[in-house]
Symmetry: C2
Subunit: 126 residues, 2 copies
């Protein structure tokens, strides 16, 4: 679909990442149909949450992150991706700053229904 924020520009991740520093605050860089691609900087620990209606993709660009589940956890490193299935509780952690690309439908809230202080404004572009 037409992208009001960027009419078919090449999106450079490093350049976009240089424009914000906040952790746990995803910034939209592109839309494909009704999906959004969001850059996020992670450091520390997020909150347990799930997304009832959608899978969620994490694609790590720099560093590494842990995705914890109730029964196990995985480490996702730069050059790797992971799909968190819908409805599955998870928590993300990064001992050092990690940069990742999220892919999920437009409108998904970062904390799901868990809420709390880490809930970020939605649909913020960079």
């Amino acid at each position: 679909m037409a992208q009001p924020h960027m009419a078919c520009e090449v999106i450079n991740f490093a350049q976009k990442l240089s424009k914000f520093s906040e952790h746990w605050s995803p910034r939209v860089v592109a839309e494909m149909n009704d999906y959004q691609f969001k850059l996020v900087k992670l450091e520390g620990e997020f909150v347990w949450h799930d997304h009832k209606d959608t899978d969620e993709v994490f694609l790590v660009l720099k560093g590494e992150m842990e995705i914890g589940f109730r029964d196990r956890s995985v480490i996702v490193r730069a050059g790797e991706m992971f799909v968190v299935p819908k409805g599955v509780e998870h928590i993300t952690r990064a001992a050092r700053e990690c940069h990742a690309l999220l892919v999920e439908p437009r409108g998904v809230i970062n904390t799901g229904e868990a809420g709390g202080s880490l809930t970020a404004p939605n649909d913020v572009w960079v």
Copy 2:
């Protein structure tokens, strides 16, 4: 959704890319809802085509590719992505081998309706 081919594994792009060498032959590595993530190796020139019903994402992992349109072209390099809007004719080229990740709905044929010898089997996983 549940992924029959890989039950919530970490997907390492380099490891997946080492498993095939054919150009212009996308291999599915993950599904998110009804979307697929496909790795592809590009070298040379593809064919003019469009996708009537969907946008298409190219995320370059190694090297660089050109996406040509009827009125301009863009170069997408490693660490960059581009969204080709639905219905827009395009052609992809790479002077040297380029590795990219495609994101598009399940069932999209690489050559759209253009057909021809570069039409790859669909839904081939690696």
